[in-house]
Amino acid sequence: MSPDIERPGNIERHDYDVVVIGAGGAGLRAAIEARAQGKRTAIISKSLFGKAHTVMAEGGCAAAMGNVNSNDSWMVHYRDTMRGGKFLNNWRMAELHAREAPDRVWELETYGALFDRTPDGRISQRNFGGHTYPRLAHVGDRTGLELIRTLQQKIVSLQQEDYRETGDYDSNIRVFHECTITDLFVSEGRVAGAFAYYRGTGDFVRFDAPAVVLATGGVGKSYQVTSNSWEYTGDGHALALRAGATLINMEFLQFHPTGMVWPPSVKGILVTESVRGDGGVLRNSEGKRFMFDYIPDVFKEQYATSEEEGDRWYADQENNRRPPELLPRDEVARAINSEVKAGRGSPHGGVFLDIASRLKPDEIQKRLPSMYHQFKELADVDITQEAMEVGPTCHYVMGGVEVDPDTAMSKVPGLFSAGECSGGMHGSNRLGGNSLSDLLVFGRRAGAGAAAYVDGLGGVRAAVAIDDVTEAQKRALLPFSSATEGGENPFVVHLELQKTMNDLVGIIRKADEMELALKALQDIAVRARTVSVAGRREFNPGWHLALDLRNMLLVSLCVAKAALERRESRGGHTRDDYPVMDSDWRHVLLVLSALGEDNVNLVRQEQLPMRPELFDLFELDELKNYYTGEELGGHRADASGSDKGDKL
Amino acid sequence: MSAAPEISHGTVASAGRAQISARTLRTDRWWLPPLLTFAGLAAWVAYATVRAFMQEWYFVEEYNYLTPFYSPCVSVGCEPESAHFGRFLPDVWWLPYASLTLPFLLLFRLTCYYYRKAYYRAFWLSPPACGVAEPHKKYSGETRFPLLGQNLHRYFFYAATLISVINTYDAVLAFGKADGGFGLGLGNIILVANVVALWAYTISCHSCRSIVGGRINNFSKHPMRYKSWQFVSRLNTKHMELAWLTLATLALTDFYIMAVSAGWISDLRIVG
């Protein structure tokens, strides 16, 4: 290796109380909280400050404020969330989420957020799939942007406060942008720091800190068709595994039903659910609104059975049931998949999403401005005149780091996780709008948890082992070394990985295909270890990808392994060979841990039973769809003498 | 940022920036719009200057047509029938007959937010077009005298509103013929069209937009101001078009009246 590549000498070092990895909604909210609790905090971001994937969230942020329909409450929100996740959710997380989301949204207004308003001046809320009442605080269809900008500006305001006191903007909270963490340091069984490189210069940097918050988002870049950006390479998932933490629910991936399917270069880019919330309908090539054929039994009560009733719902939601286009995302995605497979798809392999015939052009432009521009500018399609072509796209991973619900701490002391990279909150399927509120609720909890943890240490911190630093450095430079000379192009290996996951562990899964996938992944792992890159360390995309590949591979293994293990279909996990939901699987969590450099170990773990008063929020009849007979024993209906619970 | 060599002709990029010597890499005809603006404004100014100092053919007595370039006519040299506000300025060749108003009209347009853009680009080349380096070594924008005076735009707007009233008055008077009867000719239509365009341009002014409502933060408590602001805002999006339209209608009106007054053509009469 040339000296320019190796760059011997001291590595830049920073000491912090809390290091937050990821500058999306969860990371920024965590950092704000940690700083508010008096902790010196660093925010590490792979991209520029304010560009995180949170900007892609369009529809809104779910919080039961009851501004539009006063019947809403945290309990209704809680029920919707559990229902959406098919009762596999960590109920404590779902409870905290539903209870705290309104406060988190209101807080944003004090930071300067400007949500759309109701006529009486409160935050307006919109309908969304799976939510009983209008619940999503929003700003047109760019809610994610508002959220990230608001949090970004709050951080700036904290920095201005610090500047007034210390003369240094960065004294208590600093953003390291375009900086990628490649390893976590664990000493004496707890977190000691992290190792990173600056993307711009290629220089290494180490952060010594007793608490690390992972807020790195999802894993979509392991798939070919995805709404996720290049950042979504499962870094937090993989870092947690390698640090000794565990992942749960990794078999559950949400395929958003409506991604763009054409032109090829934008395939996968999201078409917001608001299109359907505002009246858009799905049609197949025969012009039929096919969603009426796909209402599952568990939802029969809540959804309209005729087009007339569905259409009436937009004007009068009290007296009509909602149209089936607004079923939870997994249902809609599967339905579209089936239509395309049955040969009733659109020319480019999707189905038609029609808003043009449902709303006036100026109304469409007003309600869905960024969708209008997205199609106009990327596909040359005028959505006020013609239907969009849409199809499922890999959108969100429900699985993630297993954490304590209240503190967001993982199995590893000092390692916290929030947002998409933590698991449990959404169960087997996430409702639209619950992601932004998840970021805020658990971002704050992770920040607070980390601060409390640091306080609890009483000044005693684990030291980073110097050998670990050397090791991390060596690992990071491997793609440049002579050991990999003549190795493969990382872009090629990445494409192979994406294709494998897309084709073999995609939206509909089969045992034999997943076994093939596991074999293929082993093969790709070998090749990934020897990818080689040319050029220099400054902003070298080949090198960056080579390092990200490691993470994607480990995460893909987790997905494939867990998906093969779970022999039922539930939420974001659909098995062709086990097509129905099985109550015996509801209480089973599949827990993954690292096994050596690139292998994982899977064990089954029992889900904790729901607290009785939460359990009683549901009607027994509904629970019967999900629970086994003996699990229903503690329900209020059961205690009051009814014996219905035993008959299942 | 210690070393900061000035870009003069786009040949040297500041230290640290991408070293690209081309003044612009634009491949379209970026020079065309500023050239057209330059030609259009220059032609108009030339015409207006000639006409302002001509001191004849500004009034058609028979039909009471007075060109806006001579309104109000307040020089002792004015034809008595054309002077509705008295005659008191001395009749010398270097003093236009409408000297009371012309400077304000000129300043209203000179400080107009649209014309500023137009002449900064087309005359001062600052910048000639987006992404094309300007030739000046120093730039201080509108922070110093005399350009600091651009901030007085609203006063010239007030004056222009007053002058628009006078122009309207002229246009109304023109419906009365010299013999006292009602008349309607092509000249009337032109005068009215000009006045309508002038009002649209004047009302669509950015200062006006701020004054009627833009400066307040609580529209919801001032529904009338909000409505006015919305109306002006809609017009304001057409401010550029109105600016050019009024140049055209002004010149056309003036030319028509000159032509009738000089006897080159006779007014097309509809009534009387």
Binding site: H53, V55, M56, L114, I269, G542 | P5, R17, G141
Partner: protein, 251 residues
């Protein structure tokens, strides 16, 4: 449907660089960013480019295409003829790091200099009441994706490096306008806009508006109204006189 296009891409660092010609395949429906990625995957593995969402929402892939600041992900190849040479350079107003990637820290520095939202001190979270018509103007400015194309094209700093010190740029002057129009913000921002952040440098030549990928009317809706508000405060003798004669409490 595919053809070979002629791309000319600036390659270099903060000291030197040059335009390099690449013949490269183009397929139907592609955007400039796709072509840059194809170059990475085939001919120039270490070609540095910054990008993120690839859907025009994050504002990362800013560059200059044929001399005009654009988002690479939103520039469709069909807007060019098959025979023309397409020149891609980094933003020319900011220091270059490598190839198409520039150091945009100027913008983050300026962002910190703008005083943040100042909520009314006694208003509890949840008690905020604002009418839609009162938030709409600021909402337009909050559509900004911070691609910094306006900051790049503005000749005040593009052609005059020395002005960077005293000029916040269109994006951050718009931020002041956004906060000044916020119905609940209590800070006084108008004089500061002129005296600290260089509003007077703007000569409203509208290039910021021309390049805005979000189609925000930066000049007409933010900068000019802000200039007019400054006039209210600084250059309007009537207002000044009025404030002396009719001193209102708190005014």
């Amino acid at each position: 449907m595919s053809y070979d296009a002629r791309f000319r891409v600036w390659r270099g660092d903060d000291e030197k660089g040059e335009l390099v010609d690449y013949p490269v395949e183009v397929n139907e429906g592609e955007v400039v960013l796709d072509i840059i990625h194809r170059l990475q995957q085939t001919q120039a593995q270490d070609l540095a480019v910054r990008w993120n969402c690839k859907a025009g929402k994050c504002g990362s892939c800013s560059a200059e295409i044929n001399g005009r600041p654009r988002l690479m992900c939103m520039t469709r190849m069909s807007t060019f003829t098959e025979t023309e040479t397409i020149t891609v350079t980094p933003l020319r107003t900011f220091p270059v790091i490598r190839d198409l990637v520039t150091d945009v820290s100027f913008n983050y520095t300026k962002a910190r200099e703008i005083p943040s939202f100042a909520p009314p001190p006694d208003l509890a979270p949840g008690d905020y009441r604002m009418a839609q018509v009162d938030v709409e103007r600021s909402q337009e400015f909050r559509k900004c994706i911070e691609c910094f194309l306006c900051q790049d094209i503005c000749h005040v700093v593009r052609d005059h490096e020395e002005n960077k010190e005293s000029f916040a740029g269109p994006r951050y002057l718009m931020r002041i306008a956004e906060l000044d129009m916020h119905p609940l913000d209590v800070a006084d921002r108008q004089k500061e806009a002129q005296e600290e952040h260089g509003l007077g440098m703007c000569n409203i030549t509208k290039c910021c508006t021309e390049v805005c990928p979000e189609h925000i009317k930066i000049t007409d809706n933010a900068l000019i109204p802000l200039k007019e508000r400054v006039v209210d405060r600084k250059y309007d003798p009537l207002v000044w006189l009025g404030s002396k004669i009719f001193k209102r409490p708190g005014a």
